[in-house]
């Protein structure tokens, strides 16, 4: 086993008949920014709360730095948490909030003051020590919650959707700050979010969860470019799916026959598929290139008509109708020029083309 700071070993949590977490077994490496990503109710928060000690696993064991944690109460675990609503103590000022967990640290008053000043420096709020909790903005409360947890020098910092309550601009700024902070202090972060863009931005590794089960653990790039299941491919970003059957496969390339796209050549896909297998062909919207005159090819090309379009500022979304397919195909295009209006004429014939290594092949039951 490598340098795992947290190890989940067959961890399950049932609330009555509800299976919140089912048989989770994976490791989190020391110093990683690890995210638990999934829709609400997928068990990600329950898993985090089990690490913190607020929930006890129904089965299995959680090891933190090699120590089993089942019998250890939350106040004796080497982890600290940033709560979803920050849980800043309303009756204490910022300094006393940050100092809350240091009562038993055995520091003198001056040492503690120095540590608090350093913490305030770290979260870029020097001079805010005497403020009350109700005099802080959402972003500032979040920073105080971070400082209060980090001053304890935990082995793992747990973050429960800490950016969910912030507006978009502030959230993006805090994402960058969180990432920098994590790289600066080198503590392992275990981060819970339902926002896939946030998880992609921040994480070294992401565990995608659904209905209590861990579906896949991979880096952001891997999850996006070669997801291992239809659920993950669908949950992360947008994806067009087409039914197909493998007609030929070699080590380096496979050929898929699809009713809608015709023949699709795929390279660089490591899904272990064999000839005759039923599969999904999955292509990201931005990886399909629209052309407006017949390219005269049939492989990795599909002809259709332009449907509705949506202008999103940096890019545009087009819905292209293909014959023999009810749902339109989503195509995303960067708005490289200021006027892209000549592209989106409804009912105009359009051909979609894509590279063979842009296609993901997923097994279909």
């Amino acid at each position: 086993m490598s340098d795992a700071i947290i190890s989940f070993q067959g961890v399950s949590k049932h609330f009555g008949s509800v299976k919140a977490v089912e048989n989770a077994s994976f490791d989190i490496q020391r110093g990683e920014f690890f995210s638990l990503l999934g829709p609400s109710g997928c068990g990600k928060t329950t898993l985090l709360r089990m690490v913190a000690g607020f929930e006890i696993p129904s089965a299995g064991e959680i090891m933190i730095d090699g120590q089993p944690m089942s019998a250890t109460p939350p106040n004796h675990r080497p982890v600290n948490m940033v709560f979803q609503n920050y849980a800043i103590f309303p009756h204490l000022d910022v300094r006393n909030n940050i100092a809350f967990g240091m009562r038993k640290a055995g520091l003198t008053r001056t040492e503690l003051d120095k540590r608090i000043d350093e913490a305030l420096e770290l979260i870029k709020l020097p001079g805010y020590g005497k403020r009350g909790a109700d005099e802080l903005s959402g972003g500032q409360r979040q920073r105080v919650a971070l400082a209060r947890a980090l001053i304890k020098q935990p082995k793992v910092l747990l973050l429960d959707e800490p950016l969910g309550a912030l507006d978009k601009k502030l959230r993006e700024q805090m994402q960058i700050e969180l990432r920098q902070l994590q790289q600066q202090i080198g503590i392992t972060f275990l981060f819970v979010t339902h926002d896939q863009e946030e998880a992609l931005t921040l994480s070294d590794q992401i565990a995608v969860m659904s209905e209590g089960e861990v579906m896949e653990i991979a880096s952001p790039g891997q999850l996006y470019e070669s997801p291992g299941s239809r659920f993950v491919a669908d949950f992360i970003g947008s994806m067009n799916f087409f039914e197909g059957e493998i007609s030929a496969s070699t080590d380096s390339a496979v050929t898929v026959q699809t009713p809608v796209l015709g023949e699709v050549k795929v390279t660089g896909s490591d899904a272990g598929v064999s000839t005759g297998q039923q599969v999904w062909v999955a292509i990201r919207p931005e990886k399909m290139q629209p052309v407006f005159s017949d390219p005269g090819e049939s492989v990795n090309t599909a002809g259709g008509t332009m449907g509705v379009s949506a202008y999103l500022g940096d890019r545009s979304h087009f819905y292209v109708h293909l014959p023999q397919r009810e749902d339109p195909v989503l195509v995303a295009l960067q708005n490289l020029e200021r006027s892209m209006t000549h592209l989106h004429k409804p009912s105009q014939p359009v051909w979609l083309q894509w590279a063979s290594d842009a296609v993901v092949v997923l097994p279909r039951d």
């Binding site: 607020f54 982890v79 979803q84 309303p90 009756h91 304890k152």
Partner: protein, 271 residues
């Protein structure tokens, strides 16, 4: 409100408010008024200014003893019922209790049972068991009445604050006991003060239960009631009443100041 309205044609609501306040406070103001009146009969016209009823009040040991009885019972009841209320509020708001609904219902029932029924049933029970009537039995019956009030006040306070504050304290290394003292107690404190004041007041002027369950030591309301039969005993009671009125005014003002301070520090809407 329309500020351009001339004073001789006031707003309907203003008229209503004045009538309302007069209705509430005019009778109460008769108390200090007659306590300074020379005549021992409580009737107009006033006969002149005097302090003698206040002197008599200080020199009437029976009445002061009744006052002390009420204060003793009131303080004990206030502290015990607030403690019980706090424990119950914590249990109800923090743990998944089996049968929480019915239990809560039964605790709250004394609020709606007519006191006279409660008093009679308690009297029957206590005499059947053979416990002698005393201030203890009075206090016990007051507890029964006050605990639901304490619970109502404290449950709303406990529900008003975020559970994750307690989890944060645990997470930062404090055990359950220190979490209570460092987080829960300071945040719930305004509710505790409110509960103490409320339960003390309820016990202090409770008549029916005290009347049925007391023996030879009267509480103040019972003493006052028995004084009504002797006109000479009444003016000192007015003096005492006026004194209590002034003291309660300051206590309530202090409590309100304290509550507002609590509201300000936790940012929520208080009670």
């Amino acid at each position: 409100m329309n500020t351009n309205r001339p004073w001789w044609r006031p707003d309907g609501f203003a008229v209503y408010a004045v009538i309302y306040l007069t209705f509430i406070y005019l009778p109460v103001l008769f108390l200090p008024l007659f306590s300074f009146n020379k005549s021992k009969y409580i009737a107009f016209p006033l006969k002149g200014f005097t302090f003698k009823w206040y002197e008599k009040m200080i020199n009437s040991p029976d009445m002061l003893e009744a006052l002390m009885n009420s204060i003793k019972v009131g303080l004990t009841v206030a502290i015990l019922s607030t403690m019980l209320g706090l424990l119950a509020a914590k249990a109800v708001t923090r743990y998944r209790l089996p049968g929480r609904g019915p239990v809560m219902g039964f605790i709250m029932v004394p609020l709606v049972i007519p006191e006279i029924i409660l008093a009679i049933s308690l009297l029957i029970l206590i005499t059947q068991v053979g416990i002698p009537l005393s201030l203890w039995t009075v206090g016990f019956s007051h507890m029964l009445l006050c605990t639901p009030f304490a619970m109502l006040v404290l449950i709303s306070r406990m529900e008003g604050f975020d559970r994750s504050l307690e989890e944060a304290a645990l997470d930062l290394g404090e055990n359950a006991w220190m979490t209570f003292w460092r987080v829960t107690f300071p945040i719930v404190l305004p509710g505790i003060v409110a509960s103490l004041l409320l339960t003390f007041t309820i016990s202090f002027d409770e008549f029916v239960l005290s009347f049925f369950l007391t023996s030879t030591d009267p509480t103040l309301p019972i003493y006052i009631w028995s004084s009504l039969r002797f006109p000479t005993k009444l003016p000192p009671v007015l003096a005492l009443g006026a004194s209590i009125f002034v003291i309660s005014f300051f206590v309530v003002a202090f409590a309100e100041w304290f509550r507002r301070r609590g509201v300000k520090t936790d940012g929520t809407s208080g009670l």
